[in-house]
Point group: C2
Chain length 229, copies 2
């Protein structure tokens, strides 16, 4: 049982982290139920800690906890899906700008390492992992910008983006990463703040345009789910 692989974290944080990863990588689909006892068995801890972890994921918007019913992987509505990407379009270009203004050479190296891992995952057909890494890439830029507050918010937005993509992505397997990330690295590396901002803006618009965010009735896996409010 791999508990406390990272020493400084509380056990609850470790559970939260692993659950988060599973959701980001789409190993847990929106709507999936997370029973407390099951998670207790898996991690070998009591419900106390599991509930703490679930609650923290609820805060990040990854889970919906219904009283006396349990925790479910969240299913963002169309409105929320649009809001998430509107919010990202609002803050990420500025973040990219700041990152470009403050980047050091080792930052660029890290970004490039990151992009390599992304491509490797794509080549091996691990779409879920690639998606998670793509999110991490955006977070890494916020880190370079040295904006902890915005980074924290962006973390939530990216978490939700992952759910949005699981629900509304048009072409299931083709996560055509284009070379948007590469362009971003270049601009940031050259301290070209204007270009970095612009690339980020169009990159997000590109993702957004590949989502199917039209109003529609169905898409539910079962009638029961459809009627659960």
């Amino acid at each position: 049982m791999p508990i406390m692989t990272e020493s400084k974290m509380s056990a609850a944080d470790e559970i939260a982290k692993q659950l988060t990863e599973a959701i980001h990588e789409h190993r847990l689909q929106p709507g999936a139920k997370l029973r407390e006892d099951e998670i207790c068995d898996i991690f070998g801890v009591s419900r106390t800690l599991v509930r703490q972890a679930l609650r923290s994921l609820e805060f990040e918007g990854l889970l919906t906890i219904q009283k006396n019913r349990g925790a479910f992987v969240a299913k963002p509505s169309l409105k929320e899906a649009r809001e998430v990407f509107q919010a990202r379009s609002l803050i990420e270009p500025s973040i990219a700008r700041m990152a470009a203004e403050r980047s050091k050479s080792e930052d660029i190296q890290e970004l490039e390492k990151h992009i390599k891992r992304e491509h490797a995952a794509l080549d091996q057909g691990e779409a879920g992992l690639a998606l998670k890494l793509s999110g991490d890439f955006h977070l890494k830029i916020a880190e370079i910008a040295d904006q902890e507050t915005l980074e924290q918010f962006l973390r939530q937005l990216i978490s939700r983006s992952s759910l949005v993509i699981a629900l509304y992505w048009r072409r299931r397997n083709a996560l055509c990463e284009s070379n948007a990330h590469h362009d971003l690295i270049t601009a940031i590396g050259e301290r070209d703040a204007d270009s970095a901002e612009e690339f980020m803006k169009s990159h997000l618009l590109d993702i957004y345009s590949q989502l199917d965010l039209q109003e529609r009735d169905g898409g539910f896996t079962s009638l029961r789910d459809a009627l659960r409010q």
Copy 2:
């Protein structure tokens, strides 16, 4: 013992809400310790629920929880203080714009009611309450803009702003509200998106400029606090 004054909330949420209010109104100062047992006595519940509440306030950035040491009202650093207002300057003008585009007449009435309560609180010398209401005013605008995701983030930013003001406000008692809020209402009521955006921008800049965010050595109440990282 006033538990569960609002029926739909869980007890933990109610505790969190009341603690949040106390911090927003500066009845609890940054650095204050919140002992679990004490809160248990006050609300008449077990530590289980109190800990849930404390944890949720930690997520909002209002508390810092140190392992085996307890929960303390957060003391934002200078960097964090700046970041909070930078973030607000980034998103709130856009929120004001959207609010102006979508406002209905009843929204304006609500905002005006709000501003009246603010002035009333100021007149009665309840600076803490006035500050909290001022934050609520900004949140109300996000609500009118119908942007739940940004609203949620703004809620956190305003929470932290309250702490920042407690720590770094120059003129302790003079919360010179000027007529910035009034100007905002006018612009939003007239659907003047450009003005709303502009007023919000300068309003935030105005607040920011009244903070004392210069680098300094002291300001610590004790060496102990100074060294606690």
